[in-house]
């Protein structure tokens, strides 16, 4: 219904002219246009990525150069650098915690899904906007509030939450245990509450939009894989974030109202606490019920973006479109039944460990299918290495490297030794951290022309890619060795133990690589903001892509298409079709217009298509009549 009324509204005006009743506030701040909201998410995500990256540089300095005099950081860190110029061990934990929280939630969940789901869903399915523009705006601003609260928590006297990004109680519940579990933890919980509300509103919107607002002819079997990925990501988020909220709520009760959900038999700070009967393991179950699906919330959009970018730049249909969808569905379902593989040695029943090992290793199968499909898509393609394509290939590499180490960790017997060592750090930074990050960068490079009507500089993009790609491997690959050697995570220093009293050289190498990789991101930042104003003007379809967003004007207004929304007649991957003149056929080109390249089964679909076209004409005629 709403589509129709917007369509009429648009048809009644000349295109673009309705922008004049947007003032600065409604256009750039409280915007309800999905494209502007996407840009808001992107820029906010970039801010958080820089901050999260900076925090990691700080603790990498500590790990790589434990004897270094860090007095020069006092202007930023103040009292967290002690008189001898060393980083405070408590603040080290705060840095690790905040790095994790920021990167997982603010950058790779909000920054990635928020940006690209918002930007691409309406554009690629052929909708004027999200199902609810208002709720979409609310979603961003709740995220913003969440960010403000988290940001403030960095500056309070007792420091931000410091119990690791998983904030396991009792550590996170008891102020006596660590200073960060005081006000810092309270702010963490409040911020996360806003964040959860924000993701739910976003997710409901994405799902509703994909289901209800697809343009004529855009059946689920013609959806680009990006949309499939965003759609399933939103479904995962919708089902798992409420559980995190429950976990957080019970933690709030334990912290503030004297309940014992997670607390039992605790003697701390010279006194025995009255709490009995609670279980810290309960929290872990609840947390990882979100925590593991969260990994896929972060990863699936990146895989969706990659599918689109690789197909376009290979000038070749994505191999196994249906298999890709089935594996996405498989990952979605399985992501909910593997959470306890984070808890093999938490003290839970070993039988449960057996079950979760089995389920965990199953999830490797759809992941493997995706990798093989990417490889086959590249095979005998005609590959154009745009920066987006490079980052996508980088993503596939990280996905393989990090995915394979997951097989070690998913096997409970092997996990005994590797759990909570640097092997885990290497694993998830590659498979979800770097892979998703590369997906996000690929998305920015690919859709920048659609976002800002200008091109990013490709050469700077290449430099950015190679520095980042090599850099990420130089940071995380050595961590496998350190992890196999048994180095535990979240250690401030490794000098206390004989078995960790080595690899100072390797840790130094990792830190230097991390700093270089971090600095390389400034090339991207420069490229991004410079190209936004001074970049070369983009053409309408710079990558010669098939999807709908490239049929909009260079600067699409609110409503995306000036006239009617185009109808869709074919799947989005008709690249290099035999018989066709060009090496791409956009989704809007009817099969009846390309008899020379139609496959036998497509010839039969031509009849169905003619009906759609007739319907479309009727709408056009009725709109014209209203003029």
């Amino acid at each position: 219904m709403s589509t129709a009324s917007v369509a009429n509204h648009d048809a009644a005006h000349d295109h673009g002219d309705h922008e004049h009743h947007d003032n600065f506030v409604t256009k750039y701040i409280f915007s309800q246009d999905h494209k502007m909201i996407a840009k808001q998410y992107l820029v906010t995500g970039m801010f958080w990525a820089l901050l999260g990256g900076f925090l990691s540089v700080l603790f990498r300095l500590q790990l790589g150069f434990p004897d270094m005099d860090m007095s020069f950081l006092r202007p930023i860190l103040g009292g967290w650098i002690d008189e001898t110029g060393h980083l405070d061990p408590t603040f080290y934990l705060a840095l690790v915690t905040m790095h994790g929280t920021i990167m997982v939630f603010f950058v790779l969940t909000a920054g990635l899904s928020g940006t690209f789901s918002n930007f691409l869903i309406p554009l690629q399915i052929g909708a004027r906007d999200m199902a609810s523009g208002f709720m979409n705006m609310l979603s961003y601003w709740l995220f913003f509030i969440s960010g403000v609260i988290m940001f403030i928590s960095l500056f309070i006297k007792t420091g931000p939450a410091s119990g690791g990004w998983v904030v396991y109680p009792p550590l996170s519940a008891l102020e006596q245990a660590i200073p960060g579990s005081g006000l810092g933890m309270t702010l963490w919980l409040v911020a996360m509450t806003f964040f959860i509300a924000s993701s739910l509103m976003g997710g409901i919107n994405y799902i509703t939009t994909v289901i209800n607002l697809r343009t004529r002819g855009m059946s689920f079997s013609k959806l680009p894989l990006t949309i499939w990925a965003f759609f399933l990501t939103a479904v995962i988020g919708l089902l798992s974030f409420p559980v995190l909220f429950a976990a957080a709520l019970l933690l709030v009760f334990d912290r503030s109202f004297g309940t014992s959900f997670y607390l039992s038999d605790i003697y701390i700070g010279g006194e025995a606490l009255p709490n009995t009967g609670g279980s810290p393991v309960l929290y872990q179950h609840l947390f990882w019920f979100l925590g593991h699906p969260e990994v896929y919330i972060v990863l699936l959009p990146a895989l969706g973006i990659t599918s689109e970018v690789i197909s376009t730049n290979s000038r070749k249909p994505i191999f196994g479109y249906k298999a890709m969808i089935i594996s996405l569905l498989g990952i979605t379902v399985l992501s909910f039944v593997v959470w306890a593989h984070h808890m093999f040695v938490s003290g839970m029943n070993p039988f449960l460990g057996s079950i979760f090992m089995f389920l965990t290793l199953i999830i490797a199968v759809p992941s493997a299918v995706k990798v093989f499909n990417y490889l086959t898509t590249l095979w005998r393609g005609n590959l154009i290495f745009t920066p987006a394509m490079l980052f996508s290939i980088g993503l596939v590499s990280f996905f393989i490297s990090g995915g394979l180490t997951g097989i070690f960790l998913g096997s409970s017997a092997i996990d005994i030794q590797l759990h909570d060592t640097y092997f885990v750090v290497a694993h998830f930074h590659l498979v979800m951290g770097s892979a998703s990050f590369f997906g996000m960068l690929a998305g920015v490079y690919h859709w920048f022309p659609k976002m800002f009507g200008r091109m990013m500089d490709a050469k700077l993009g290449y430099i950015h890619f190679w520095l980042s790609f090599v850099g990420v491997y130089m940071v995380f690959f050595p961590m496998h060795y350190i992890g196999i050697a048994g180095f535990p995570r979240r250690y401030y220093s490794f000098t206390n133990f004989e078995f960790t009293n080595m690899y100072t050289d390797l840790n130094m190498f990792v830190s230097v690589a991390a700093i270089i990789t971090f600095l390389a991101q400034f090339i991207f930042l420069f490229n991004f903001f410079y190209s936004m104003y001074k970049g070369r003007k983009a053409t309408l379809n710079p990558w010669q892509s098939n999807t709908l967003e490239w049929t909009t004007p260079l600067h699409p207004g609110h409503g995306n298409w000036p006239g009617e929304i185009p109808a869709v007649y074919r799947w989005p991957y008709d690249y290099s079709k035999p018989g066709a003149e060009d090496d791409f056929i956009p989704q809007t080109v009817p099969l009846s217009a390309t008899p020379e390249s139609n496959l036998p089964h497509e010839q039969e679909l031509v009849k169905v298509e003619l009906e759609i076209m007739k319907e479309e004409e009727e709408v056009l005629v009725s709109n014209d009549a209203k003029h």
Binding site: S264, I362, I393, L460, Y462
Partner: protein, 338 residues
């Protein structure tokens, strides 16, 4: 002064980069290569993938072989041999997949880099291929699951009757060790009984507790099953003995356990590693506060005879501090004196 010079240096570097950037942009506009769908950079990027593949491949093999003795800690427990075998089997299988997929991933960009004259082949799907690469990983993973599951159920099976029981309690930021004494049974405890002198909260009204004794190190006999009863007093901790391939969380309110058979005494290990200072260590692997990185306990593996001798010589808590039993029945005190 130095700060100023560094600032100028950085500024200079940035302005040079900036100029190079501008010049190459202008040159590409003049040459018209910015209009082309794939410029000369396409080939360079394709070659760089090969360079990356070869370069990092060599680096990886060289370092993995050179450092093997460093990162592969010697194994000192029976199940450790099994889990390490599993680890290296998995490494072999995934290693092959890793190499093959990466060779393809980086060679394809070179082989199929853009050529105006060529058209990509339209190859949208092949169900046979999909089934093959669903089934093969499925089968391989089934093998890994079954072998992993067998090892896991052996490791987590109930400890043998004759296992030496030792309690390890974690607190911020150390471990404490309690032995059950002559009766081989640990006495009850209650966290509300914890005091400065009774750090475990041992209930000395339980007669099993009377002969319990503490130890500054975890002394265990070689070749005999040992059962760690693990608990925590304040927050989560995790007992990690890397050479024993042993890890189990210590959870307040929920005792956990891990049993194993040590296979090498500390002395034997000193000989094997050539390090006369070698000691088995326990570290904490669950973040527990600012002293997390320093929760160390030494394990000393000795010959069974030496262990028996040492065990018999230990003084119980009550012998060391009779006040602990104060207020208990005279019968208990009598028991304690024996």
């Amino acid at each position: 002064m130095y700060g100023f010079l560094i600032g100028v240096g950085v500024l200079l570097i940035f302005s040079i980069i900036w100029m190079v950037y501008r010049i190459q942009t202008l040159v590409s506009v003049v040459k018209g290569s910015d209009k082309k769908i794939a410029s000369g950079s396409n080939k360079i990027n394709a070659i760089l993938f090969i360079v990356f593949l070869v370069g990092t491949g060599i680096l990886m093999f060289w370092y993995s072989i050179k450092e093997f003795h460093n990162y592969q800690l010697p194994i000192a427990s029976e199940h450790g041999v099994v889990t390490d075998a599993l680890f290296w089997w998995t490494m072999g299988i995934t290693g092959i997949v890793f190499l093959v997929t990466h060779v393809l991933l980086f060679i394809f960009p070179y082989m199929y880099r853009y050529d105006v004259k060529r058209k990509a082949s339209f190859y949208p799907d092949n169900n046979k291929l999909e089934i093959i690469w669903t089934a093969v990983p499925g089968l391989v993973l089934t093998g890994l699951v079954i072998s992993g599951w067998m090892a896991w159920s052996d490791i987590t099976a109930p400890a043998p009757e004759n296992a030496h029981v030792i309690e390890i309690m974690g607190y911020q930021f150390a471990w404490e060790v309690r032995y059950p004494g002559k009766d081989q049974v640990l006495g009850d405890y209650d966290y509300r009984l914890i005091t400065a002198t009774n750090s475990h909260g041992i209930d000395f009204t339980d007669k099993n507790a009377i002969d319990d004794f503490p130890s500054p190190v975890v002394k265990i006999p070689k070749g005999e099953p040992v059962l760690f009863k693990i608990r925590a007093r304040d927050v989560l901790h995790s007992v990690f003995a890397p050479h024993m391939r042993l890890k189990m969380d210590a959870v307040p309110g929920m005792p956990t356990r891990f049993w194993f058979v040590p296979t090498k005494t500390t002395a034997e290990m000193r000989e094997e590693t050539g390090n006369p200072e070698f000691q088995y260590e326990i570290a904490c692997t669950e973040v527990c506060g600012n002293g997390h990185f320093s929760m160390k306990k030494i394990i000393e593996v000795v010959e069974p005879e030496e262990y028996q001798k040492w065990y018999a010589e230990q003084k119980s808590y009550i012998q060391m501090n009779p006040a602990l039993a104060a207020g208990h029945s005279s019968e208990m005190n009598k028991l304690a004196e024996n």
